[in-house]
């Protein structure tokens, strides 16, 4: 497919967009100042994404073909899995999220990024930390705490890197211009401050002054769940709050809904986490408090979901054309699905069947992939052309990326959730041997590997496309890359 197939008419000189020339120059200056750091974050993130995807395939296949590479110590399942999760969390999701967050913060604060060299150095340190950590995990020096497998010395490196990166992102807020603070800024500022709090608290309570016994598991799950909500969730929601109204050119539906959604989200989601250990040896009230908090997360979910829906109302057909909108809206819808699945699997009566099964893996992927990663992909489709001064080369590749991701993550969640029901029911059957009950999930795990192939394809396609952009091989046109030819005159031309 070639650029010739992509639309269409030369864009009219944008008369209906009431942006003054000063504002355009201001944006151009901001984009130029964020160009190198944000692209560095994106490039590193995508390299980690490819690496993590290959490891994920290995993890998935080894679950139903355990003899593969069983002779190679650093490719055993117990090492490959934490390597996969940590690469995805700290390498892909965090770095891509920080890249998007820095760009959004600069745009919304209407200030150029000062001292980009510090952020670039920070990104370098962060990469070094992840590299060392993954090396440590693969050579057997893992701490054994879920999502915190990096050894403590890596945590120090990550912390230094984070300080370099985020102190400047926070300072941008200090130097903001204009008197309005937009919703996205609330979420981003929150995320910038929540992550060090979560990470430091978990490191302190697990490694520096370790709490005793089973409470380590409580700290561990509190960290994992809150990282999902308060770090990735906050960046994801903030990005969606920016991209949706920005692309369709319409104000967000309601300020009141946004306020309620933000504060209840911050309040309730920090209480969650313990529900992942139902029937574990913990005081019942701890687990119950987390379940109650999970039930209460319905409030922010319904509020934010409604706010996005009402903003989009009447503009859904635009998803046919705009890659950014398509990815972001899919992610925003997945946020609702992810949260509702989270509420359902946290009930004691359901957890009796689904706790400690593959359902927890499905839940993490719904949150980190179907919601967060898709929103971040959407933001990349918006931001990268503004940074490299080119348009995405092939609409067909974007479509392939989108559909392979959607079918991949959809099939994966479906397989793991239905497999978990079978596995959990069999585990509860006292007359069934343990090996039998675990074997009953095998067909579903094979299905999951198939889903993994789809996602691998989508990631390599995206990385290739991003590489073209990075090396200046994008289209030089003044029309954006629409997913489908635009048939009628309209606002589509400004996506």
């Amino acid at each position: 497919m070639d650029a010739a197939e992509i639309p269409l008419k030369a864009p009219p000189v944008p008369t209906d967009v009431p942006t003054s020339d000063t504002e355009q120059i201001e944006r151009a200056l901001i984009d130029a100042s964020t160009r190198v750091p944000v692209l560095m974050f994106y490039t590193s993130a995508i390299v980690w994404l490819l690496l993590g995807t290959l490891l994920a395939m290995l993890v998935s296949i080894k679950l139903h073909a355990p003899d593969m590479f069983s002779g190679v110590s650093f490719l055993t399942w117990g090492r490959v899995r934490p390597a996969h999760t940590n690469i995805m969390i700290y390498g892909w999701a965090s770095m891509a999220g920080m890249g998007t967050a820095i760009w959004l913060m600069a745009r919304l604060c209407r200030t150029v990024l000062r001292h980009p060299l510090l952020i670039i150095t920070g990104a370098g340190f962060w990469n070094l930390g992840v590299l060392l950590g993954v090396g440590a995990i693969l050579t057997g020096d893992s701490t054994g705490y879920q999502w915190l497998e990096f050894p403590p010395y890596v945590a120090v490196i990550l912390f230094v890197a984070y300080t370099m990166i985020m102190s400047w992102a926070v300072l941008m807020f200090r130097f903001r211009r204009g008197d309005r603070i937009y919703i996205t800024q609330w979420y981003l500022l929150g995320a910038f401050l929540w992550f060090p709090w979560l990470y430091a608290a978990a490191q302190l309570m697990l490694f520096v002054v370790p709490v005793q016994g089973v409470m380590q598991a409580a700290v561990n799950w509190w960290y994992a769940n809150n990282l999902l909500f308060l770090w990735f969730g906050a960046i994801g929601l903030g990005t969606a709050y920016y991209m949706i109204p920005k692309v369709i050119g319409r104000p967000v539906y309601s300020y009141h809904l946004a306020t309620i959604g933000f504060w209840t989200y911050a309040l309730f989601s920090s209480w969650t986490g313990m529900q992942r250990m139902i029937d574990g040896p913990f005081p019942a009230w701890m687990i119950t408090a987390s379940i109650a908090a999970t039930i209460l997360t319905i409030i922010p979910v319904a509020t934010v979901g409604l706010n996005h829906h009402m903003t989009m109302k009447g503009y859904f057909p635009l998803m046919r054309y705009s890659p950014t909108l398509r990815f972001t809206v899919f992610g925003a819808i997945s946020y609702t699905v992810f949260s509702l699945v989270g509420v359902i699997i946290s009930f004691r009566s359901v957890a009796r069947y689904l706790n400690f099964t593959q359902a927890s893996v499905a839940y993490s992927h719904l949150g980190l992939y179907a919601f967060y990663t898709m929103v971040i992909f959407g933001s990349m489709y918006y931001i990268v052309p503004r940074l490299v001064g080119r348009e995405w080369r092939y609409a067909s590749l974007i479509k392939l990326h989108f559909w392979a991701s959607v079918y991949g993550v959809g099939l994966m969640s479906l397989m793991l959730l239905s497999g978990a029901i079978v596995e959990g029911t069999n585990l509860n059957d006292a007359s069934m041997a343990f090996t039998e009950s675990t074997q009953s999930i095998l067909p579903y795990l094979r299905g999951r590997s198939l889903a993994g192939v789809l996602m691998t394809v989508s990631h390599f396609v995206f990385a290739f496309h991003f590489g073209l952009m990075l090396f200046g091989l994008g289209r030089t046109a003044s029309v954006p890359t629409f997913l489908n030819p635009v048939e009628s005159e309209g606002s589509e031309a400004h996506l």
Binding site: V13, P14, V17, D21, I25, R27, A28, L29, D31, R35, Y182, I183, T184, Y241, Y242, P245, I248, G249, P251, V252, Y253, S254, Y255, H256, L257, A258, P281, F282, P283, A284, W285, T288, A289, I291, A292, A293, I295, L296, I298, I299, A302, T303, L306, M310, R348, P385, R386, G389, A430, S431, A433, T435, G472, T476, A477, S478, V479, P480, A493, H494
Partner: protein, 256 residues
């Protein structure tokens, strides 16, 4: 900031690339066409959303109240039973296990240890040298031969149901412990149409003492030396109806 207005013709120039032009005033087309930075509307809260809030708070609160376990620091029971009840609950584990019949317990032991060779169907594998257990003359007759093989293992040529076996070696299973050996024998002797009677933990314990000095695996002649209907001491008589006198003996006590 420089307020100089760029030439309109320049604004729609195509293919700007920051890498080639140092002048940032040559604004990329994407920036020109993009919409205003997002704004926020002021629509009010809808009534039904407030209802959803109310329901969520109500159910969340009710759940917390119902399953808080009285907010006790050492209460693992979400319903907050009194401490003596909790002590009772903690001893329920072994009792619940004992509720499974010896046959079902034996099935779990079999699937975990024996099914690898003898298969879950009990038919073994002729090609790999694993004799069948279903309908075998060793699993249906007296309990003694049966128990000897499981305790110490078996090697060398063997004829089962008229077929020769011998390439595979059966390892001794006495390390499983008396209870598990008794359970698995009970299971094997009553499954797949086999007609052997149950075997108790005490019988295996007695046999263990008797065989304590026996060094290695049995062979076919060793087994043949034992009469096919020989029973372990202290058990019921094979398939024959139990004698009145033996009824008084303790059967399989549930305690482990």
């Amino acid at each position: 900031m420089n307020e100089q207005t760029p030439d309109p013709a320049l604004r729609i120039r195509q293919g700007m690339d920051y890498g080639e032009h140092g002048d940032v005033q040559e604004v990329h087309a994407a920036i020109q066409r993009e919409k205003l930075e997002p704004r926020v509307g002021l629509e009010p809260l809808s009534m039904w959303l407030i209802v959803v809030y109310g329901l969520a708070v109500f159910f969340g609160g009710a759940y917390l109240g119902r399953y808080s376990g009285n907010f006790s620091g050492d209460g693992l029971d979400p319903l907050g039973g009194p401490p003596p009840a909790k002590k009772g609950a903690s001893t329920q584990g072994p009792e619940q296990q004992a509720e499974l019949s010896p046959h079902d317990r034996g099935k779990k032991v079999f699937n975990a240890n024996c099914a690898v060779c003898h298969q879950a169907t009990g038919l073994g594998s002729q090609s790999q040298g694993y004799p069948p257990l279903a309908g075998s003359e060793y699993t249906s007759g007296g309990s003694r031969r049966n128990a000897m093989i499981v305790m110490k293992g078996l090697q060398g040529p063997l004829t089962v149901k008229g077929q020769k076996f011998g390439s595979a070696v059966m390892q001794p299973w006495e390390t499983l412990g008396d209870q598990k050996v008794a359970d698995v024998l009970t299971y094997v002797r009553s499954e797949w149409g086999n007609t052997g009677g149950p075997i108790t933990r005490e019988q295996i314990a007695a046999l263990r003492k008797e065989l304590a000095s026996h060094p290695a695996s049995f062979t076919e002649p060793d087994i043949q030396a034992v009469p096919p209907d020989a029973e372990l001491p202290g058990g019921e008589q094979g398939t024959a109806p139990p004698k009145p006198g033996e009824q008084a003996k303790p059967g399989a006590p549930p305690k482990k």
